[in-house]
């Protein structure tokens, strides 16, 4: 039953949703820029390691192949459901495991050298940050999709009255 009050509140809600959408777009853009920057600086550090140590020191030949021994993943993507409202916001997050050789959690850095140079360590940190940012960006994008869907619904509701 459409009343003036519900129309007013629906309008206000729609305004807020639009503002939220703008905020989310800006945050998403910022997040994407951060991913770009972090990834670029990681790549530069990796290139520096190769330049200092020679081209053959860090190569794909050192990565384990199918025939190598099995090991567990140090980093997993898990979906986490927020307590507040489980329906609308399905978020994902990163779960990291400590290096534990006996249980199969190996340190990937040691494939390349026993004493990795500082620049290679820096590159690893940068790429780890990058994964976190990708997760953040995904969450923002999901939120944005939710907001867009509710805007569509609410517009239909308003148009009907």
């Amino acid at each position: 039953m459409p009343t003036a009050e519900s129309k007013e509140s629906a309008g206000q809600l729609l305004d807020e949703l639009y503002l939220d959408m703008f905020h989310l777009i800006e945050e998403h853009t910022k997040c994407r820029i951060n991913i770009e920057r972090t990834n670029a600086s990681g790549a530069i550090l990796l290139a520096r390691t190769k330049y200092q140590q020679g081209g053959s020191t860090i190569s794909t030949a050192q990565i384990p192949t199918e025939n190598s021994g099995e090991f567990n993943a140090l980093c997993r993507v898990v979906s986490r459901t927020r307590d507040v409202d489980p329906k609308t916001s399905m978020e994902i997050s990163i779960e990291r495991h400590m290096v534990d050789k006996e249980n199969g959690y190996v340190e990937p850095l040691h494939w390349f050298s026993v004493l990795p140079p500082m620049s290679l360590r820096g590159a690893v940190l940068k790429f780890k940050d990058c994964i976190e940012l990708v997760v953040e960006s995904t969450n923002l994008q999901r939120e944005l999709n939710t907001v867009l869907r509710s805007i569509g619904k609410l517009r239909q509701y308003v148009a009907r009255q």
Binding site: G11, D15, E16, F22, E26, R32, R37, S150, K153, Y157
Partner: protein, 297 residues
């Protein structure tokens, strides 16, 4: 053309004529005005009333509005989430608005101040809700921004640095020239006078290797002589077989040590041979002519 990083992450909204007219109509209710909106109004030929407090855009920090999810679900409970309906709906509105928008765009001056930013939209929202609460006009924010154009942050396209381009071009040409020379060395008589082909050059490079090998042979021989004769001179009266054995042992020890250095030196020499030879940069006019001639030949 390369895509560069986005510098300005703000979203922009190009205001429509409708929005500006509405702002103009309600201008006596302004209490405060963001400076961006004030400039926007001025640049579009509207008059900003005196006595309005102008606030700087970055003075206030706006947070994301909290959405009343319960109310949202209650209102949209009976709306079917059908993308087809939504699509046709939006298409219909778009069709309605396109001619109007085109007109607006022609009227808009293209300047840095002709956009609304997020803080301005926040201000607009509070302003509109004030107007609604005072029952002055019953217009919502979404109704007035519907006709405006939203401009998303985009990557700027940037041409490559001409210096880098020139450098790449030069390196590519050098590489191609080198390959060409290698290919045509046997065919072209004009190119026979390259340093690699003269006897002096080859002798020089062989000399280095010969010296290294001769050093090796001399030191091994000296070690043998020391074991064979020197120890006999010091101690005296050793049997011939033992002297021979001593000589061989001394020579072997020295040969092992020397082998290491020889291998290192020869390896270095190989690397020098593999490395591309760089020509000294020539003045551009002559080099161009020369290059062209070389290819022509």
């Amino acid at each position: 053309m390369l895509k560069s990083t986005i510098i300005d992450t703000r979203i922009r909204l190009r205001p429509s004529k409708k929005l500006l007219d509405l702002l103009d109509a309600q201008k006596e209710h302004f209490k405060e005005l963001p400076d961006n909106v004030a400039q926007l109004l001025k640049s579009n030929g509207y008059v900003v009333p005196l006595g309005v407090q102008i606030i700087k855009a970055n003075e206030k920090q706006y947070k994301r509005p909290t959405i009343d999810v319960v109310l949202l679900e209650k209102l949209t409970a009976d709306v079917i989430d059908d993308p087809l309906i939504a699509k046709s709906d939006s298409e219909a509105t778009e069709e309605d608005e396109t001619p109007e928008e085109d007109q607006d765009q022609r009227q808009q001056p293209k300047g840095p101040t002709s956009f609304l930013y997020l803080s301005d939209l926040h201000w607009l929202n509070t302003f509109m809700s004030e107007l609604r609460s005072k029952n002055i006009c019953n217009v919502f924010l979404y109704q007035i921004i519907e006709s405006s154009e939203l401009i998303l942050p985009e990557n700027e396209l940037k041409p490559r640095n001409p210096e880098l381009e020139a450098r790449c071009q030069r390196l590519r040409e050098e590489q191609q020239n080198r390959e060409y020379h290698k290919m045509t060395k046997n065919v072209d008589a004009g190119l026979k006078h390259y340093p690699e082909d003269t006897i002096a050059y080859q002798m020089k490079s062989i000399n280095k290797q010969i010296i290294a090998v001769a050093q090796f042979i001399f030191s091994v021989a000296a070690g043998f002589v020391f074991g064979f004769l020197g120890i006999n001179l010091i101690v005296g009266g050793l049997p011939f077989g033992f002297r021979l054995l001593l000589g061989v042992i001394c020579a072997l020890v020295i040969a092992l040590a020397e082998m290491y250095f020889l291998a290192k030196k020869l390896h270095e020499y190989d690397e020098v041979l593999d490395a591309p030879k760089r020509k000294k940069p020539e003045p551009p006019t002559t080099s161009k002519g020369q290059r062209a001639k070389q290819h022509a030949e």
